[in-house]
């Protein structure tokens, strides 16, 4: 049971933005939901899977976002309501299918939720999914608070059915992962039956075949849908205005920026000077609604995150309607009032507003601010993110690093997306040298591996996680084998999609609904492709290192090393100590020649700390998870481990 389903209509609950989206989808009677995990979107599919039984939902983690969208499309084509969820980069992956889907149209309500990550809080990009809506000519909705996250999701299904087109609901990290109270609506009783019709007139949207051709005709149909959406958006209740009839400044915003803007106006006490137009339907924009508000002021500020999507679209409408509404002064990304990178917050809006409105604003007394800043510098040492205590990646990268140093030919590792991305930094011994999108480590390596004819003699490695392997590495591996590229791929198999919270993937024996499924073995896939495959436990440090050196020296083609060890936070390892570990003070030589604080200074498991007074290493009982691997790195054998019975 979950508070997402058992609470009745009218109940007020504190939910995360992603949970609000889940409730909205449930209230819309969603039948099929698919997705690929990615922060900040993962909780949506996770929560749906938890409640799947009762309303007869089908929920799956798909192998990647493109397949997820295709799986959900099948439901829509069969007149079911379908939801597909991904983080922004997933839209890039899915976009080829999305382009064709937008051309073919849909049947049952089809909503794609994308969660963008402005400021890249847990991404390596701050890509924009909003532009896909414009590029692919499909409607885009952006909730401006938690209640809307629910209500808009629900409405998006209706809209999709009305337009016979997929509808995008776009959230951002601060919406998806923030929480607020919302009031629940009714859960529907209607049960739909899946049926795919194809034998009517070929071009009939409900009975024909579903394709994006004849292209010219279908494209016209598609644009007709977008015109219809624009009409509907003119009266959409998700576009709201608060402020004076004729404001000094009209602030147009959407999404989380609406909350920041509202806060900024409040902090500056500028409620009677600033009009706040919050757009819930950001593509296509309703021209009449905008003309009405634009005509009541001379100055317009647009507040949004990253690229000037809203700003440009508003400016086009303002230019087209300039004769009626007059010429405006715009403040936004283009003139530098609002930054064009990173996430927004109330303070950035306060700064923008106070400069445009000429308000003096000092958040804290100057002296306090100075003192506080000085204290941070003097007394709050920076806290980098590190691999967890007991993390298999620390051990894996220790061995990869050592193998490459010992090999001594400037070998390097192409990185990929997952927790192990942190191996760019010192927690992974600065091992990764390139980092891009899912699966691109293996792809780039495949290319590097062909540069021998231009004199490159550096060993080429790539790493990927187990989930990433299925998502996008397989084609790269096939490419490398087919093209006889000489590379070593290290698969960090920690039994789950650890980064985003252990979602099951095709390598496991169960799916997200808890059903037994056949595990798809990475080793056998690689062997099938034609690679040499080795499997090691990364906690066998020396064995792993030796194998790696051997593979690196083997010039016969593609080699795969699978490092198999469950994540320290995984359900099977969490809260379970394999060893009790302590440092024998009489043996530890600390800073002396022969060690030089190897455990704390180099290996860096947070479970090991340095007692400066005693000049000895120590185990922090609260943090150590008892994996025992550090006993093998101490040159003196001072770290003692005893197996826990």
């Amino acid at each position: 049971m979950s508070y997402l389903t058992d609470e009745k209509e009218g109940a007020s609950c504190l939910v995360m933005g992603n949970e609000a989206i889940v409730r909205g989808a449930l209230e819309a009677g969603v039948n099929v939901a698919s997705g690929y995990p990615g922060t900040p979107s993962s909780e949506i599919i996770e929560n749906l899977s938890k409640v799947a039984k009762e309303p007869n939902l089908y929920v799956e983690w798909s192998v990647n976002e493109k397949v997820a969208l295709e799986v959900a499309a099948a439901a829509s084509f069969s007149r079911l309501r379908a939801l597909c969820v991904m983080k922004q980069n997933g839209v890039n992956v899915a976009s080829d299918f999305l382009l064709h889907l937008a051309g073919s149209g849909t049947r049952g309500g089809f909503v794609m939720v994308t969660c963008d990550d402005p400021g890249a809080l847990s991404s390596v990009n701050e890509g924009e999914s909003r532009f896909f809506a414009r590029l692919l000519e499909i409607p885009l909705l952006e909730p401006g608070n938690f209640q809307e996250a629910k209500d808009m999701t629900k409405w998006a299904f209706d809209l999709s059915e009305e337009l016979r087109q997929i509808v995008v609901v776009r959230s951002v990290t601060r919406m998806s992962h923030a929480s607020g109270n919302i009031t629940y609506g009714r859960l529907p009783a209607e049960k739909r039956r899946a049926e795919f019709r194809f034998d009517g007139f070929a071009l009939d949207p409900d009975e024909g075949i579903i394709i994006s051709a004849p292209v010219a005709w279908k494209h016209q149909q598609q644009q007709e849908k977008i015109r219809k959406a624009r009409e509907i958006f003119e009266g959409c209740p998700f576009n709201t205005y608060e402020g004076p009839e004729r404001p000094d400044l009209l602030l147009i915003t959407s999404s989380a920026c609406y909350l920041y803007s509202r806060e900024a106006v409040n902090v500056l006490g500028a409620e009677d000077r600033v009009g706040l137009l919050k757009m819930g339907t950001t593509w296509p924009l309703p021209p009449k609604l905008l003309a009405k508000h634009l005509s009541r002021t001379d100055k317009v500020m647009i507040v949004e995150e990253v690229l000037p999507f809203l700003e440009e679209n508003v400016k086009i409408l303002a230019a087209e309607q300039a004769a009626e509404i007059g010429v405006k002064t715009f403040y936004g990304k283009n003139d530098g009032t609002i930054p064009m990178t990173g996430e927004m917050n109330p303070d950035l809006v306060i700064a923008a507003l106070s400069s445009v409105l000429g308000i003096d604003y000092v958040p804290v007394p100057e002296e306090y601010g100075r003192e506080a800043q000085a204290s941070v510098i003097a007394r709050a040492p920076n806290r980098e993110q590190v691999f967890c205590p007991g993390c298999p990646h620390r051990a894996s990268f220790f061995s990869i690093h050592n193998a490459l140093e010992m090999d001594n030919r400037q070998g390097f590792v192409c990185g990929d997306i997952g927790c192990y991305t942190m191996a760019i930094g010192s927690t992974g011994f600065n091992t990764l040298k390139t980092l891009h999108s899912m699966g691109s480590g293996a792809g780039i390596a495949s290319g590097f591996g062909k540069l021998g004819q231009f004199g490159m003699d550096q060993p080429i490695l790539a790493v990927c996680g187990d989930s990433t392997f299925y998502h996008a590495v397989i084609p790269a591996l096939v490419n490398a084998v087919h093209n006889r590229s000489n590379i070593t791929l290290v698969v960090l198999d920690n039994s789950g999609t650890a980064m985003t919270g252990f979602q099951p993937h095709p390598g496991l024996d169960h799916n997200v609904l808890g059903e037994a499924v056949p595990p798809i073995d990475i080793a056998r896939i690689c062997e099938g492709i034609g690679a040499r495959v080795e499997i090691r436990d990364p906690f066998d440090l020396e064995g792993t290192r030796e194998t790696l050196n051997e593979l690196i020296e083997d010039t016969s083609g593609v080699k795969v090393l699978i490092m198999r060890k469950a994540c320290a936070l995984s359900p099977q390892r969490k809260n379970k100590k394999d060893y009790t570990v302590h440092v024998d003070e009489t043996i530890c030589i600390g800073e002396e020649c022969g060690c030089g604080r190897f455990c704390t200074r180099i290996f860096g498991c947070p479970g090991l700390i340095w007692n400066a007074e005693k000049q000895k290493a120590e185990i922090d009982e609260v943090i150590c998870v008892g994996c025992g691997v550090c006993a093998d790195i101490c040159p003196q054998g001072a770290i003692k481990r005893e197996e826990v019975a």
Binding site: H401, M406, C593
Partner: protein, 376 residues
């Protein structure tokens, strides 16, 4: 005046030796700690170390070597630049008795002496160099029979001293060592307690040095030979004395490959070209091939400890001793002097020699006078 602290740690070792391409991979800095590893003949630094004064630096024969200090420590007198170093006597010799037919390099004297020393417990174990294919493998052996398994020269530069460091770490003392001149110099540095540690003990029971003009870089040698001969089936490699100017590689099925030495010289580690020692001057005993007699050895006795063992071994028939013809002696002096001059001139030309005193410049410390004399 502020006293300048001279760091003698890994950072300096890396700067003056590894980055300057002086390293010969001797193994003296390996297995002292987790920072240095040797792999396929190359010494690698895995992580930066912050110890100010370290054994890696102190033991390395390619950095800040104080020749006077070493000579005083071993022989009780300053370094005088004699081409053959300090010694008591030179003889011609070969293994005798039941060790006569061992598959050794020349006269088998090295193996015979170490076998004897181990059998009589003059040493408790021996650090030697075995091989797999062309890859030299450091070994610590404790039974005499295993000495014979390591006989014959591996011309690839070897990290032999890593096995010594491991043995010392495990508590072994009174260890025998067979090494090339750079390794023997490192051993001398080790025994001199360069860091003035209270708990330092001299781990050596007997140091036998080999004559050496240069070694070969394994990582270049292996691809060089690949395709010419089956590497796993090489039985022996030899360099017959001048004027032949070839290297002979024997396969196990009687095949023989002859390679001109000027091709081989391309494969010599850069570090060897700075070496000023041909006869392992800082050993107890030094052994080389006797010119004109490929089945005999030239033996230089340098210390009392070495002399006693040689005499006993001869008495018990482990080796036969005879006088070395004057002509051979002169040629040896000429060749050793040449090597000294070449190495010193090169190092001096590159500003690596410290004649002033206490500042770490790099490579060698030597008095200005002797330097002049040797390079004139």
């Amino acid at each position: 005046m502020e006293k300048r602290v001279i760091r003698r740690g890994q950072e300096e070792l890396k700067k003056y030796v590894l980055d300057a391409r002086l390293c010969t991979g001797c193994g003296a800095c390996i297995d002292l700690c987790p920072y240095h590893r040797s792999h396929r003949g190359k010494t690698a630094v895995l992580f930066p170390c912050v110890v100010d004064e370290g054994r890696c630096f102190a033991y390395c024969p390619k950095v800040d070597v104080d020749l006077d200090m070493v000579s005083r420590h071993l022989f009780g007198r300053p370094y005088d630049g004699n081409p053959l170093g300090s010694y008591q006597s030179i003889s011609a010799t070969r293994a005798g008795g039941r060790l006569k037919n061992v598959a050794s390099q020349a006269g088998g004297v090295v193996s015979a002496l170490m076998y004897f020393a181990l059998e009589k417990r003059y040493v408790s174990g021996a650090v030697l160099t075995d091989r797999r294919g062309l890859l030299p493998l450091p070994r610590f052996v404790t039974v005499p029979q295993d000495v014979l398994a390591c006989a014959a020269s591996k011309y690839t530069a070897a990290p032999t001293l890593s096995a010594l460091n491991q043995a010392v770490e495990k508590g072994h003392r009174n260890i025998g060592l067979v090494g090339t001149p750079c390794q023997v110099l490192a051993a001398a540095l080790m025994s001199s307690n360069p860091l003035k540690a209270d708990d330092c003990v001299n781990p050596f029971g007997l140091v036998i040095g080999l004559f050496c003009t240069w070694a070969i870089d394994f990582r270049l040698f292996e691809p060089f030979l690949a395709g010419r001969i089956e590497i796993d089936r090489i039985r022996k490699i030899d360099i017959p004395p001048p004027p032949s100017e070839i290297m002979e590689v024997f396969g196990d099925s009687g095949t023989k490959l002859e390679i001109p030495l000027n091709e081989i010289r391309e494969l010599v580690p850069n570090g060897c070209s700075y070496c000023i020692d041909m006869t392992s001057e800082f050993s107890d005993l030094s052994v080389g091939v006797m010119e004109g007699h490929p089945d005999m050895n030239t033996l230089i006795i340098r210390t009392d400890r070495g002399r006693r063992i040689v005499e006993e071994a001869a008495q018990e028939g482990y080796l036969t001793l005879s006088a070395l013809p004057e002509e051979n002696r002169e040629h040896l002096i000429w060749a050793a002097g040449n090597k000294k001059k070449r190495g010193l001139s090169k190092a001096r030309g590159e500003g690596m020699i410290n004649t002033q005193g206490n500042e770490t410049k790099s490579y060698l410390r030597i008095s200005a006078e002797i330097l002049e004399g040797l390079t004139a």
